[in-house]
């Protein structure tokens, strides 16, 4: 029998959550397969949700869906880019098609 930490759920029913960040008193994390960045307070209240058209690999956290943040695209989604919120600032993939 493995001994687990006393484990409390804050958000359940996610696909593949990754890269939680603490920003301004809240948690921001991505759900890779559900293509979202989600923000929740510690009481579980959702304070933001950003729907993307690609699976993210990480985000630097954000205050609102439209504030400046950074999101990287997950492996397998092309092109590979870094995005501040939804605006493409920088293309760092050599395979970017143009």
């Amino acid at each position: 029998m493995t001994e687990h930490a006393l484990e409390n759920a804050l958000v359940s029913g996610l696909g593949f959550p990754e890269e939680p960040r603490w920003r301004d008193g809240a948690l921001w994390f991505i759900d890779n397969w559900n293509k979202q960045v989600i923000g929740v307070r510690e009481d579980g209240a959702e304070i933001g949700r950003l729907d993307l058209d690609f699976p993210p690999a990480a985000s630097a956290g954000c205050r609102t869906a439209n504030s400046s943040s950074w999101i990287s695209r997950a492996a397998g989604s092309s092109p590979s880019t870094l995005l501040p919120s939804e605006r493409v600032l920088m293309r760092i993939s050599p395979s970017w098609p143009g």
Binding site: A5, E19, W22, F29, N32, A58, S59, W70, A75, M90
Partner: protein, 178 residues
């Protein structure tokens, strides 16, 4: 500049961005060439920060004072620690048998990292000392501390694969710290 896809990232207070790019596909076997770390200045000028001996760099985070950069190497099975005040310097921290993914700063030259295969999070110091280990019910992908460091939040899921992801077993969970 990027070696395959960008993956983990973190920002400094001045807006400088550090991004890991993986170097090999996560599902591949065989050769696992080095990924790299790209540093992007606030004016969007990018440079390669590190590019050698870095198999599948994943989570990246700066220490609170922004002197140390921690990068979890998933295929390297260790954590690289870069002292930004001493360019070119790197030390590695290996906690035997772990497969590090996400990472967060824990203060006092220590960090928490998620060990995927061990379904646990490990707090270690940059000198390699393991300070604490917490086991969870599912594979762990990334930890973060809340503001007063009273809780360790962890992203957990049965697997990172899309078929398993569709089952909705992923969760953000927390455990109280002393």
């Amino acid at each position: 500049m990027a070696r395959l896809n960008p993956n983990g990232l973190c920002t400094a207070r001045d807006g400088t961005l550090y991004v890991t790019t993986v170097g090999s596909e996560v599902f591949s076997s065989g050769d696992r060439p080095s990924g790299n770390i790209i540093r992007i200045a606030p004016d969007a000028v990018a440079e390669v920060f590190w590019e050698t001996d870095l198999p599948y760099p994943n989570g990246a985070v700066l220490a609170e004072d922004e002197r140390l950069l921690y990068v979890a190497e998933t295929f390297g099975q260790r954590v690289s620690v870069f002292d930004l005040s001493a360019p070119g310097s790197r030390r590695t921290v290996t906690v035997g048998g772990t497969v590090p993914d996400g990472i967060c700063d824990a203060g006092e030259e220590s960090f928490w990292f998620a060990d995927v295969v061990g379904a646990q999070c490990v707090r270690a110091r940059i000198d390699g000392e393991v300070l604490e280990t917490r086991k969870f019910s599912r594979p762990c992908y990334a930890p973060v501390l809340n503001g007063d460091r009273s809780r360790l939040y962890v992203a957990i899921a049965d697997s990172y694969t899309p078929d398993v992801g569709a089952r909705g077993t992923g969760a953000l969970v927390w455990t109280a710290l002393d």
